[in-house]
C-alpha cells in the first residue's frame, strides 16, 4: 500500500505502476462532464493554481449544507470516466494534473496524455458512495455551483486515506485493456 499526499510531483506520478494500491491524502478537486467541457473549451486561468500537481476526481457527490453554511459530503463514489475521454488528455496537459480518479478506465487518448504529462489514472470502487464520503474530511471550497449545479460543480475537498488502485499508468499500461482482452478471448470460446 502506497501512501500519497497531494500535491504530487511528476517523478512521484511516474513511479506508480498498474496494480499499485494507493491511499490518497490531501486536497483533490471534483469535476465531471460540464467541468471538463468547460476546461477544454475555455481553459480558465483561475483553475491553474488549483489544479497544478493535483488530482481530479470524476464524481458528482450528494452534499449537505449545514445551518452554519458549511458543506459536508453524504455520498461520493466515482462516476464513469470514459465520458471525459475527449477532454481528459488536454485537461491533464493544460493544468499539469498528476492524477485522475474515476471508474471504468479511459481510452488511448488519455493513456497517451498520462504518458506525455506524467500522470496516473486511479480507480475507486464504484457505488461505494457512503464509504468514500466518510474519507472526505473537509469541503474547502466549491466553484461554479451556480452555473453547473451541485453534481457538476468543482468541489475542492480534503481526503484522508482515500482507497484507490492504479489501473492506468504513465508507462502506457492499462489493467482495463488486459481484462478486456482476456474476456474477449473467453467470450469467443464461449460462443464458438
Amino acid at each position: 500500500m502506497i501512501r500519497l499526499t497531494t500535491p504530487i510531483t511528476e517523478a512521484q506520478a511516474r513511479q506508480l505502476k498498474v496494480g499499485d494500491e494507493v491511499l490518497l491524502n490531501g486536497r483533490i478537486v471534483l469535476s465531471r462532464d460540464a467541468g471538463h467541457k468547460y476546461m477544454k473549451e475555455q481553459k480558465p486561468e483561475w483553475l491553474k493554481p488549483i489544479l497544478e500537481n493535483m488530482v481530479i476526481y470524476h464524481c458528482g457527490p450528494v452534499v449537505k449544507k449545514h445551518e452554519d453554511g458549511h458543506w459536508s459530503f453524504v455520498a461520493a463514489g466515482p462516476t464513469t470516466s470514459i465520458r471525459e475521454e475527449t477532454y481528459q488528455a488536454e485537461v491533464i496537459e493544460t493544468y499539469k494534473v498528476r492524477g485522475v480518479i474515476g471508474k471504468g478506465g479511459m481510452g488511448k487518448k488519455t493513456s497517451d496524455g498520462l504518458k506525455h504529462t506524467g500522470a496516473v489514472y486511479l480507480h475507486a470502487t464504484g457505488g461505494a458512495g457512503s464509504l468514500l464520503a466518510e474519507r472526505v474530511k473537509r469541503v474547502v471550497d466549491v466553484k461554479m455551483m451556480e452555473e453547473f449545479g451541485s453534481p457538476e460543480a468543482f468541489w475542492i475537498v480534503e481526503v484522508e486515506d482515500f482507497p484507490l488502485v492504479v489501473t492506468m499508468d504513465s508507462h502506457g499500461d492499462s489493467l482495463h485493456e488486459i481484462v478486456a482482452q482476456k474476456s474477449q478471448e473467453r467470450a469467443k470460446a464461449l460462443t464458438a
Binding site: G19, E21, D33, A34, C59, G60, P61, V62, V63, K64, V74, A75, A76, G77, T79, T80, I82, K103, G104, G105, H123, T125, G126, G127, A128, G129, S130, L131, A133, E134, F148, G149, S150, P151, E152, P163, V165, T167, L175, H176, I178, V179, A180, K182, S183, Q184, R186, A187, L190, T191
Partner: protein, 326 residues
C-alpha cells in the same frame, strides 16, 4: 486470512423507529380518492436509497467468498459490503448516483392517478431536500438542474407506471437506476450478423455475452441483468427493467428459462471481468429473463444492466390500511 465483512443490517425495530411514517399510520382504502401516498412514498425512498435488499447482499457475500482471499476482487467486494453497512447505519445514500427513479404503482379501481403522481413527486422533492437523493434531473440540452428531481413537464422524471388490478391492496415498487449502468444497457435486433446471433435462445445468449463484454466494469460490476425477449422497442426495454424487481434466487416460473438463467450466469462469471472490471470470478450476480410476444418481423432482445447496488423496494398497503415494506 483477510477480514470477511458481514454486512448485518439494522434491525426491523431500528428501521421502524427511523420511519417517516407515524407508527399508527393507516390508509382508508374504502376512500381511495382521498388517499395521501406522500409519506409512504417518502419512506419507500428512504429505505431504497440506504438499504440494499437482503437477496442482493447475500449474492455479494457469495461473490466475495468465490474470490481468492486478499485479492483485489475480494477486497473490492469487501468494500462494497462495508459501504452497505455504513449507508444503512447512518441512513445515507448507498451511492451518490441515486439514479433515475422508476415507480410501479398497482392499485384497485378508484385511485386517482394524477393525484397519486403529484404525491409521489412531492415525496421525491422532499427526499431530495433531505439529501437522500442527489438532484439528478437536468434539462436535456442545457443541462439545467432545478435541484428537486422533478421534470416540470411531468413526463420525464420521476417515471411512474400505473396499473389497475383486481386485488384490493395497493403496491408501489421503486427502482433507483444509476446512470453508469443505464448507459451500458443494449438492445439487439435479431438476426444480428455482426455477432452471429440468430432468432433463437442461442442468439439471445450471444447478445447477453456481447453486452457484458462490451460493458466490462463500466456498469459497476458485479451487475444484475434484466433481459426481455420480444415486444416492441419500448415495451421490451421497459420489461427488461421490470424483471430486475424479481428477487435473486427466486426461480423463473418457466423451468427452461430458469435453467438458461443459471447457465448464462455461470458463463458470464467465467469471463474474468470481475468486480469493477479489475478481473475476478464475480462478473454478474444474476440474470433475469422474460419472454414476450412480438411482431413477426421484429425480434428484439433488450438488456438492462443493474449495478451491484441494486436499489429496489416495495410497499404494500393492505386492504385493512396497514403498510408493509419488502
Amino acid at each position: 486470512m483477510s477480514e470477511c465483512v458481514i454486512p448485518t443490517l439494522t434491525s426491523a425495530e431500528v428501521v421502524a423507529s427511523r420511519s417517516v411514517l407515524p407508527a399508527n399510520w393507516k390508509a382508508d382504502l374504502a376512500q381511495p380518492q382521498s388517499l395521501d401516498l406522500t409519506l409512504p412514498a417518502l419512506e419507500l425512498l428512504r429505505r431504497s436509497t440506504s438499504r440494499l435488499p437482503q437477496d442482493v447482499i447475500d449474492a455479494l457475500v457469495r461473490g466475495r467468498d468465490a474470490e481468492e482471499d486478499g485479492s483485489r476482487s475480494f477486497n473490492t467486494l469487501n468494500d462494497m459490503l462495508r459501504n452497505i453497512r455504513l449507508a444503512d447505519g447512518q441512513v445515507s445514500p448507498l451511492c451518490q448516483d441515486t439514479g433515475t427513479l422508476i415507480f410501479w404503482v398497482r392499485h384497485p379501481f378508484g385511485l386517482r392517478q394524477r393525484q397519486a403522481k403529484q404525491q409521489i413527486r412531492a415525496a421525491v422533492a422532499e427526499a431530495s431536500a433531505r439529501s437522500w437523493l442527489r438532484p439528478n434531473c437536468v434539462e436535456a440540452l442545457s443541462g439545467k438542474n432545478l435541484g428537486n428531481n422533478l421534470d416540470p413537464f411531468l413526463e420525464g422524471h420521476p417515471i411512474v407506471h400505473f396499473e389497475e388490478w383486481d386485488r384490493p391492496e395497493i403496491e408501489i415498487s421503486i427502482m433507483q437506476k444509476g446512470g453508469g449502468c443505464e448507459n451500458v444497457g443494449a438492445q439487439y435486433r435479431l438476426p444480428d450478423a455482426a455477432i452471429g446471433a440468430g432468432r433463437d435462445l442461442k442468439g439471445v445468449r450471444k447478445c447477453i455475452i456481447d453486452m457484458v463484454v462490451k460493458a466490462q466494469g463500466q456498469g459497476c460490476s458485479p451487475g444484475i441483468l434484466g433481459v426481455a425477449i420480444g415486444g416492441d422497442r419500448v415495451t421490451s426495454y421497459e420489461k427488461s427493467k421490470e424483471v430486475i424487481l424479481r428477487k435473486l434466487g427466486t426461480p423463473n416460473p418457466n423451468p427452461a428459462m430458469d435453467a438458461f438463467e443459471k447457465e448464462i450466469t455461470r458463463d458470464l462469471n467465467s469471463l474474468g471481468i470481475g468486480p469493477m472490471g479489475y478481473g475476478g470470478n464475480t462478473t454478474v450476480l444474476g440474470v433475469l429473463v422474460e419472454e414476450m410476444y412480438r411482431h413477426p418481423a421484429s425480434f428484439f432482445v433488450s438488456i438492462s444492466y443493474m449495478c451491484w447496488s441494486s436499489r429496489r423496494n416495495s410497499l404494500t398497503i393492505a386492504s385493512n390500511g396497514t403498510v408493509s415494506f419488502d
